[in-house]
């Protein structure tokens, strides 16, 4: 009989006032006892809706029932049959709009804490398993993967398991893509990403860092000269957007990508890092997604006295994960909702000194059903700040499009691919943010998985 308590077991976490001054992980993870107790809340539905909410269709009741029995390695086997990065997904998936959003327990009370259980199982396995993956027998076919983010790593792992010789090309000096440069240490420790990548290396995947596809070597050259029979493009959506308002190029205006890259990839928060970052007192972040929350919470940890988020809609429309918004609020981040920037103000030396905004109100719903924000007439106001972080989205990087022949792209830059990841160019597949525009880690993983199957079929001539 399932435990019918209405609430999820709380996640043990660092205290808000402690954690907003350090970069250590906020959530500490369930203990085995809490995990078993939480697993007992699962009703083990005959027709589990949670599975349909998961982009990679993990057998959720299957793994949770093993957790309830204390068979944590068994639970790991169930998850890893469908997902290659469970320690990552347990931490960064927007569960409330996926698996947990469909959980029947969530209709009247709180859903089962599927994400927290997934994280527990993956961490348990990483801490306790000494089993090395078996290197598959090579089938003699070479596949190139462009980009080492979630879609690329997933595609590489699946193909390596099938016996392909896989090389992953990464432009930066460390693999991991957005998992390394974008998502902060306090939300996703880099040691976890490194562990996942080590696992791929053990499978035989080669990772070539410092290689910019489109510059160091082109996709045409990979296929025509270096013998790769297929290429998967998982280059993400890294090109930051700006608002095109006055003052956006003042000193102290960052894209969220630049700010987070300085902090996460280049470790600017550490004394021994050579990479500079502004010592800000008052930071304003523009945008309402996970990236905006990450930037705001990083700014606080770097020592800012005051951090606020400017968002043009209301709290209900924030696209960020619910947990990130709650964490941001607990840590002392202010939300200036229904507010839109119209100008960034500078001092005589060209540094940011404030922001001019206008109040918004919600009008008619747009095509996606979200109520469209409209300006309130004569409601301009200004406030002081010394740093502005623009977090209003990113576009796919143009390099690959510019340097690959026969690759069709959308007007906005996305690579055109069918439901199996096939592009207009024979042997070239694509997935993740490079195709969809900025989305989630799990959707990118799903695309990498699908493309791996399609590449296998393509090479086998099926």
């Amino acid at each position: 009989m399932a435990d019918m308590s209405p609430k999820k077991h709380a996640m043990p976490s660092q205290e808000p006032r402690v954690r907003n001054k350090n970069f250590d992980e906020v959530a500490l993870g369930y203990t085995a006892e809490i995990a078993k107790a939480e697993a007992a809340r699962c009703l083990n539905c005959k027709n589990p809706l949670c599975v349909s909410g998961c982009p990679v269709n993990i057998d959720i009741p299957g793994f949770i029932s093993r957790v309830a029995e204390g068979d944590f390695e068994g639970a790991y086997s169930v998850i890893s049959a469908s997902s290659s990065l469970p320690a990552v997904c347990g931490r960064v998936c927007p569960q409330e709009s996926q698996c947990e959003g469909k959980c029947v327990r969530g209709i009247r009370h709180e859903s089962v804490a599927i994400g927290r259980l997934e994280r527990f199982v993956a961490d348990y396995h990483n801490a306790n398993s000494t089993e090395k993956p078996q290197k598959p027998t090579l089938n003699g076919h070479k596949v190139a993967i462009v980009g080492s983010g979630p879609s690329g790593l997933t595609c590489a792992g699946d193909l390596a398991k099938l016996g392909y010789s896989v090389t992953v090309f990464e432009a930066l000096h460390v693999p991991g893509g957005v998992l390394v440069y974008g998502i902060p240490e306090f939300r996703l420790p880099k040691s976890i990403v490194a562990k996942e990548i080590d696992g791929l290396r053990e499978l035989g995947v080669e990772i070539a860092t410092n290689t910019v596809i489109g510059r160091t070597v082109s996709i045409d050259e990979l296929m025509d000269e270096e013998g790769f029979e297929a290429v998967f493009i998982g280059s993400g959506a890294g090109l930051p957007r700006f608002m095109n308002i006055p003052g956006e190029n003042l000193k102290g205006v960052y894209s969220a990508n630049e700010y987070l890259t300085r902090v996460n990839l280049m470790k600017a928060y550490r004394e021994d890092s050579d990479t500079p970052i502004m010592k800000s007192k008052s930071v304003t972040v523009v945008g309402g997604g996970n990236v905006a929350m990450d930037a705001a919470r990083s700014a606080l940890r770097l020592g800012a006295d005051e951090v606020s988020i400017v968002y043009r809609r209301s709290l209900d429309e924030l696209p960020a994960r619910k947990e990130e918004v709650e964490h941001a609020l607990e840590e002392g981040i202010k939300f200036r909702i229904l507010t839109n920037p119209i100008e960034i103000l500078g001092d005589e030396k060209g540094f940011v000194r404030g922001m001019k905004c206008i109040e918004m109100e919600l009008g008619e719903p747009d095509e996606r059903g979200r109520r469209r924000p409209v300006e309130k007439p004569d409601s301009e106001f200004a406030f002081d700040c010394d740093t502005v972080i623009m977090s209003i989205g990113t576009s796919p990087n143009p390099l690959i499009k510019q340097t690959t022949s026969g690759l069709d792209t959308e007007k906005w830059g996305g690579i055109i691919a069918d439901e199996n990841g096939r592009t207009s160019r024979k042997g070239v597949f694509a997935g993740g943010d490079a195709v969809t525009g900025a989305a989630t880690v799990i959707l990118a993983m799903g695309a990498g998985k699908t493309a791996a199957k399609a590449i296998d079929n393509y090479i086998k001539g099926i």
Binding site: N249, L250, N257, E258, T261, M278
Partner: protein, 280 residues
């Protein structure tokens, strides 16, 4: 790892290194740049490709010691290796179909101007090179420019070498004396490029300026290298580094280039007194 095969000091604050980097050497073209990290905690800094040798699989970089990273770089010797070396980045200089070009380089910017001049000269273009420095002891690449130009004018601020005056004085003189340039290419300090572009605009000569802003990834991801060109935001790393000089907002670029000056100075003064001598 990327081994240092040659290291030479070419003036008191500027050195040259030849780095073993086969993948970069294979694709490098004039006008492009690389990003390097000296060690595990190092920052990523962009440096222009001063030369390359496809057979030896090497890339030459020329750097001026201006901050903590270039200081760290300069502490390495032949046989040591760089942690990371990625490129070639940016778009190559358009060198096709030009008949007569003036190349205007200033200070360490001459390091990028040189391979551009070399390529144009090898394609049969008439090249007038104007290179400017503060004083005689800071002059670099004079002989190299001599061998890849039809005319070389050396300018120094104090007249200690070549002619006394600014590169714009020399350029104006050549234009006034009847030189018909298809294009002027300028590479050097922002303030110098600003005035070169101002001058050529008066004469209606198409001018390309090579920009070297603050940058992290160099692949279009951070937006730190953004400039306003023709009223639009452009990224030097993927859209450049060369832009139409008459469209660049130089005043904004000059302001942005000083974002971390205080940080750099603190770091640098902690370790070295050479700053007082360096040409900033």
């Amino acid at each position: 790892m990327f081994e240092i095969l040659v290291k030479k000091s070419i003036n008191p604050t500027v050195s040259l290194m030849e780095i073993y980097a086969p993948a970069v050497a294979k694709k490098a073209e004039p006008g492009q740049f690389i990003i390097l990290r000296v060690d595990e905690n190092g920052e990523r800094i962009p440096l222009t490709i001063a030369d390359f040798d496809r057979d030896k699989q090497t890339v030459t970089i020329i750097y001026q010691i201006v901050g903590s990273t270039t200081k760290k770089l300069d502490a390495l010797s032949v046989g040591d290796s760089l942690q990371d070396f990625v490129g070639p980045l940016g778009k190559p200089t358009d060198t096709e179909g030009k008949k007569h070009v003036a190349i205007v380089g200033g200070g360490v910017g001459c390091a990028i101007a040189y391979p551009v001049a070399k390529k144009l000269f090898s394609l049969g273009c008439e090249v007038d090179a104007i290179i400017g420095f503060r004083s005689d002891d800071l002059v670099i690449l004079k002989d190299e420019f001599e061998s890849v130009s039809n005319k070389l004018v050396l300018m120094t601020d104090d007249g200690s070498a070549g002619e006394k005056g600014l590169v714009t004085d020399a350029l104006k003189k050549l234009i006034e004396s009847g030189a018909k340039y298809d294009e002027v290419i300028t590479i050097g300090p922002l303030i110098m490029m600003k005035f070169v572009c101002k001058l050529t605009k008066e004469y209606g000569i198409r001018t390309v300026a090579s920009m070297n802003p603050i940058m992290i990834d160099g692949t279009g991801m951070c937006g730190g290298c953004r400039l306003t060109v023709g009223g639009k935001i452009r990224f030097a790393c993927v859209d450049g580094p060369e832009f139409d000089g008459h469209e660049i907002d130089f005043d904004e670029a000059i302001a942005r280039s000083s974002t971390y000056r205080d940080f750099e100075r603190h770091r640098y003064e902690d370790t070295c007194n050479l700053l007082n001598k360096a040409e900033l």
